[in-house]
């Protein structure tokens, strides 16, 4: 082909076997985040459903229950808040929960086909690829969370000060990392969860409902002490509370510790599980089984 002459670089020569550089790491992570965001933007349906789901809760569920929430001032609130305001942090965490599980579980579906294989033949270490994938998922969840906050703003669900939108960012990143890492760990460990409907039933719903997302913990304690204990230990509760306090420029230290600790544990588990030498991917029934 005469075109070969014009090709500026002969393709076999210029990149000999090399050790990856720090700049290369950044390029790699940047590329993964870029692609994930691009896909997200292209998939309008996904964007809409990610936005509509919490808004349905906000507009319909919360509107119906606004008067029935017990009136009591709990930190970080300094006065009485509408139920919409109360559940907004929980709905943001729900966005991140869905997003984290969705993007991680897509790795299960993609394991033998598509994007996953291309990702994993990258020369960068497997742990780094997983972390990048996680970061990409968090970036997308941030887009969703802020889109939700923007709509909520016009529904008069607002933090005390506009600074809240900034102070909530670190909390959103942390909770996004935790929920994404949890999804990653689950995607590698539980084979049965390859069906999203069962993930809904066995993970998302229990985590969401047995948390402080919909009711304050003191209310749950009054209703059922056992449930209250479950809620208090549920990492999702702490993701919600971390976000809730951060929206008001405050740090809930217990939640910060739980979210960081649980997130790190999930990430380590996922890295272990995806490691080609130690992990579970190779023992999972061969490529033919996956087809």
């Amino acid at each position: 082909m005469s075109l070969v002459d014009r090709a500026p670089a002969p393709l076999s020569e210029p990149l000999p076997a090399r050790d990856v550089t720090f700049g290369g790491y950044l390029v790699c992570m940047g590329g993964i985040v870029w692609r994930e965001s691009l896909r997200f933007v292209h998939q309008r349906g996904r964007f809409l459903s990610a936005l509509v789901r919490p808004l349905v809760w906000l507009f319909i569920f919360a509107a119906g229950f606004r008067a029935t929430l017990g009136v009591s001032i709990i930190p970080p609130y300094e006065t009485y808040v509408l139920y919409e305001v109360y559940i907004a942090p929980g709905l943001i965490a729900m966005i991140q929960l869905f997003n984290g599980l969705q993007s991680s579980l897509s790795m299960v579906y993609d394991r033998e086909v598509g994007a996953m294989r291309i990702l994993l033949v990258s020369p960068y270490p497997r742990w780094f690829l997983l972390v990048s994938k996680l970061v990409a998922g968090v970036a997308v969840s941030l887009l969703q969370a802020y889109a939700f906050l923007a709509v909520a703003y016009f529904w008069e669900v607002q933090p005390d000060s506009l600074w809240g939108y900034l102070t909530v960012l670190p909390a959103l990143i942390l909770s996004g990392l935790m929920l994404g890492a949890m999804g990653l760990a689950m995607s590698s460990i539980f084979k049965q969860l390859e069906n999203f409907a069962s993930v809904m039933n066995f993970v998302i719903f229990p985590m969401f409902f047995a948390s402080s997302a919909l009711y304050p913990l003191w209310r749950i304690q009054q209703a059922n002490v056992l449930l209250w204990h479950i809620c208090s230990y549920n990492p999702f509760t702490h993701a919600v509370e971390l976000i809730r306090f951060a929206l008001y420029g405050q740090v809930e230290w217990t939640s910060l510790a739980v979210v960081s600790g649980f997130g790190a544990a999930c990430l380590l588990a996922a890295i272990y599980a995806y490691d080609p030498s130690a992990g579970l991917t190779g023992r999972r029934g061969g490529p033919d089984a996956a087809k």
Binding site: A7, P8, P10, V121, P123, G282, G286
Partner: protein
Amino acid sequence: MSEIAVETRAPALRVSGVTHAFGAKKALDDVSLTAPSGAFTALLGLNGAGKTTLFSLITRLYENRSGAISVLGHDVRQQPTRALSRLGVVFQSRTLDLELSVLQNLLYHAALHGIGRSEARRRSLAVLERVGLAARAKEKVRALSGGQMRRVEIARALLHGPGLLLLDEPTVGLDIGSRRAILDEVRRLIDDDGIGVLWATHLVDEIEAADRVVVVHKGRVLLEGRVDDLRARGGSEDVGTAFMAAVAETDRRDKAAEHKTDTAA
């Protein structure tokens, strides 16, 4: 410098003594083979022979627990980064992102190899030119035909300048014209760039007389050599007939061995 020396001496791919099992089922049994640089090596086997498992091990989707695999002298277990950076792969299933443009797919892949944006652009356009699809760089992959998608995947596999190109049944589902075009494309790469190619297939008509052939069956290598060696082994001038004869003979021998162990017990 010594790295380059290692690479020029080593074959593009060397697999030696690799066994891999999923549970009790052995997918690969003591597999050894070589794909030299500058040559077309056909990995011939029926469906389920273990070709895809072998590819998964070479690409380090799973780690080989026995034996050794090296790409241009770099062991995939010891030096995965170097081995993978010298490796280009076209998987059997489609791995392009249909929602993204051709160029975006390539840029993503370049990023996965740590190639910065401007360099990635330059290389992407060059490889697309090479497979004759430069004009469609901005189009969504969804708009391409099956054959064109394959060519984009080949272009993508070449983007980081690999020394070994793996193709897992790349012509499955394509019409005769596209199959021909892709084969020609790959063969031209070998001539022009001197890279090594391992081409997995179950279609004997994709093999030319000068090619190297590795026949695998039930996870074992039956034969490694020239096309003529296969003809001799199968006792037929027709490659297809020879291949089927070799496979049938192995099955027969297995059955006899099984029978023997049964009666012995």
